[in-house]
Subunit: 245 residues, 2 copies
DNA sequence: AAGTGGTCTAGACCACTTG
DNA sequence: AAGTGGTCTAGACCACTTG
């Protein structure tokens, strides 16, 4: 009374494909109600748990939305929000087959600037740890990392050797990431940044502002600035083929 | 013999939290093997399906990885890739409570430029549809959208009124998105772009290059260019609290 | 052969929404 | 009261990996 033994596609996947095709061809328009778990189960001669799995996975993929006591509905295609991947700079350089190195420009305790204070939930001029690091791709400066770290969360930050370990790697180890914000902007570099990246002050830069949290609260606030001519963010998405392996 | 009737947290969620806390505290280090479905089921006095659900969801979240016949393992924290959201420009403007309008600068058939040809899988100088649109946030030009569309996929593209409907909305309707690429860069605008965005040629711009696919193949290739001072991409991530509602 | 994860069944009780 | 989705059980057979 179990398994179909047709080694091909699992039943839940066949049901997903059926639903997806109904939506794609327009038979089931946006926000229309689709068959219930029980209806699909009897139509496909499967148990309710199997029909449910198909609906559940499509919901996680953003294809459907469901309301208890009401039903399952086709999500609007517009809300398929695109996603861009942001990777660790050292990994990125290495995965291109290049050599990553880091130059430590500054590592000290400073009074917290206003912007950083509000981001980290500190008071202005409270002590914060600050690191300024240039990341090199082979011999070329690729990214300037200016990072402010909450001393309460990471008391030993100033004792690390950031030419051997990136702050990201160290922080991941001592204060595991639970949440993060990102903002990506195109800016002109200040004098400082253009000097360390060895670019003109007229060359546009991609600046990623990142704030990270761990269980205890805000951990760090960082500006990751790269020359526009040397760095870009890329991402690939696959909406179709639910869970292709 | 069913439900716990403790209306609080479901059993599968309790198991997820247990596993997550073991990883967070370092008790279960990266790449270490964690208890099997059967072991968890008996430890928590639940059915295997319930233990399985906890493992499954943590795997989808990137916290674990599993291999059939071998076991379940702690994923490396480093591979938690951060994600940035890219939204439809019209939705974005409207969700800020502003008024979105579009100015159609050009809509015609042109010979396909080389770069576009290779992106869309066409031959150089094959006919392609081209639209050039300025998106306004209230009265301010926010984004210049230069889009190349594959005529084979979207034969009626030139007949649309893109002051009423964005190309993104039209394409979503006629050639549902199945895949997409994105690249984000900081650039200086060319003369054309600075004119339509009403900015100096020295002002950095954020340029998103997007390629979309539908079932039939490559559909469109677009440059979405915005003044750096007016536009940024943001994203928020929540790694912890598996599936908080 | 024994253990692992992958799929599936035929039931159950529950919270919730609608008429 | 009837239907919906949410959680859960105690089984089953399967493909796969390891000793």
């Amino acid at each position: 009374m179990n398994q179909t033994t047709d080694s091909s596609t699992p039943k839940f996947a066949a049901i997903k494909e059926f639903i997806f095709s109904q939506i794609e061809t327009g038979n089931w328009p946006e926000h229309s109600r689709i068959p219930s778990e029980n209806e699909l189960a009897s139509q496909f001669s499967v148990s309710r748990m199997t029909a449910r799995r198909a609906l559940q996975e499509l919901t996680k993929q953003g294809v459907l939305y469901r309301t208890q006591g009401v039903g399952s509905f086709v999500a609007s295609a517009k809300s398929q929000s695109a996603l861009l991947e942001i990777r660790n700079i050292a990994d990125e350089i290495q995965s291109r087959g290049h050599f990553h190195s880091a130059e430590l420009v500054q590592l000290s305790q400073i009074p917290c600037p206003n912007i950083v204070a509000s981001a980290l939930g500190l008071q202005p001029n409270d002590p914060v740890f600050f690191s300024l690091i240039v990341h090199y791709d082979n011999q070329l400066p690729l990214q300037l990392e200016a990072r402010f770290v909450n001393p309460a969360q990471v008391p030993d930050y100033l004792q690390q050797d950031f030419t051997q370990l990136t702050p990201h790697e160290y922080l991941s180890a001592v204060a595991p990431l639970t949440e993060a914000d990102h903002v990506v902007e195109a800016i002109l570099p200040d004098a400082f940044t253009s000097k360390y990246l060895r670019i003109s002050q007229h060359e546009p830069c991609l600046r990623l502002t990142r704030r990270t949290f761990s269980r205890g609260g805000a951990v760090s606030f960082a500006y990751l600035t790269s020359a526009g001519s040397r760095y870009r963010l890329g991402g690939h998405l696959n909406f179709a083929a639910p869970n292709k392996k």
